[in-house]
Symmetry: C2
Subunit: 195 residues, 2 copies
């Protein structure tokens, strides 16, 4: 959906505009990774080698630019989740663990990712990236169903519970806690079936 949109837009873009858009996104990635939401639009423009006006032509506000980056990350996360669903291993518990670890790793690389997860956890009626969110939940639901069937997770754990768990994990990682491993181990252990 978002990919389709991007292509439709792309068709109407001049060649140099396409290049500039990509350069801006790449520059923004670097700037936001380094400075978080404090990153400056002027700095993004400088790194991309364009004028500020060009940045604003492609992304109406700083927030929109940040969200475009998150959308790209979302696609990565979706691809990862799809792999887990499509290539099931012998242990149905493992993909659950991998999802949480992937969430933590993504948060470490991209400070904007925690915000995306917070939006999902808030579960406002609709919102940006709604389709991405739905797809991720559907994928997680499949992973959970398998794990439940195998009796390796609490049988009352639903996919709808996960965004909040990811959100919590992301904030712990982002707090810079050296020991998010310990936090994650506690969390995962708590998701195991009750006796």
């Amino acid at each position: 959906m978002s990919t389709a949109d991007a292509q439709i837009v792309t068709k109407h873009l001049r060649a140099d505009a396409v290049r500039n858009r990509a350069k801006v996104l790449e520059a923004a990635r670097a700037a936001f990774a380094e400075h978080g939401s404090e990153a400056q639009m002027e700095d993004v423009a400088r790194r991309a080698g364009v004028g500020v006006g060009t940045v604003y032509r492609h992304f109406p506000t700083k927030r929109a630019l940040a969200e475009a980056l998150v959308e790209a990350r979302f696609d990565e996360v979706l691809a990862f989740a799809r792999t887990l669903v499509d290539e099931p291993g012998p242990d149905p518990w493992e993909p659950i663990v991998l999802c949480f670890e992937h969430c933590a790793a993504t948060t470490e690389r991209d400070r904007g990712w925690a915000t995306a997860l917070a939006v999902m956890a808030g579960s406002a009626v609709a919102g940006p990236r709604e389709h991405q969110q739905d797809e991720l939940l559907a994928l997680m639901d499949q992973l959970l169903a398998r794990a439940r069937a195998a009796g390796v997770v609490r049988d009352d754990l639903a996919a709808a519970d996960l965004p909040a768990l990811f959100c919590g994990l992301a904030s712990v990682v982002q707090a810079g806690s050296k020991s998010w491993r310990r936090y994650l181990d506690l969390l995962l252990d708590g998701l195991r079936p009750r006796p």
Copy 2:
């Protein structure tokens, strides 16, 4: 400690300065509760009925003002934890639950509180409110010791694990999740002893 500091300073303040300082803090409380960290210094000054310069005389930066508010909240939380330690009930698990619920409730009323918890979870070497942090950890340690002795919590759960748990909870609450209750129930259940 912080209370002592405040009194030492108070002695050197002129009567009108004391009043103004209190008015600024009260105005800041309202402004930050309403707008979060987006609150404007000019607005704080207006609500307090003073000039911006007066706000800056008492608090060198916006960040310092926000931290003063958090320090006050911290004192409230410490008082609550002290009560739990000093007036033990029949059920040693209950105070643990109350601590988490109090954390969630405080986060709902004060958006700045989540930041304080994130700092604790990050456990940087030192930092502001270090004594408050230490005291809170010591109190939690006592509550945990009792619960462990009664066999109502995982015996590997340490007080040092709690800041991360609080941090995660606070971010879920702050995300505006209607169902942080569900999140908290999952979390607490995960802290129960293993079979």
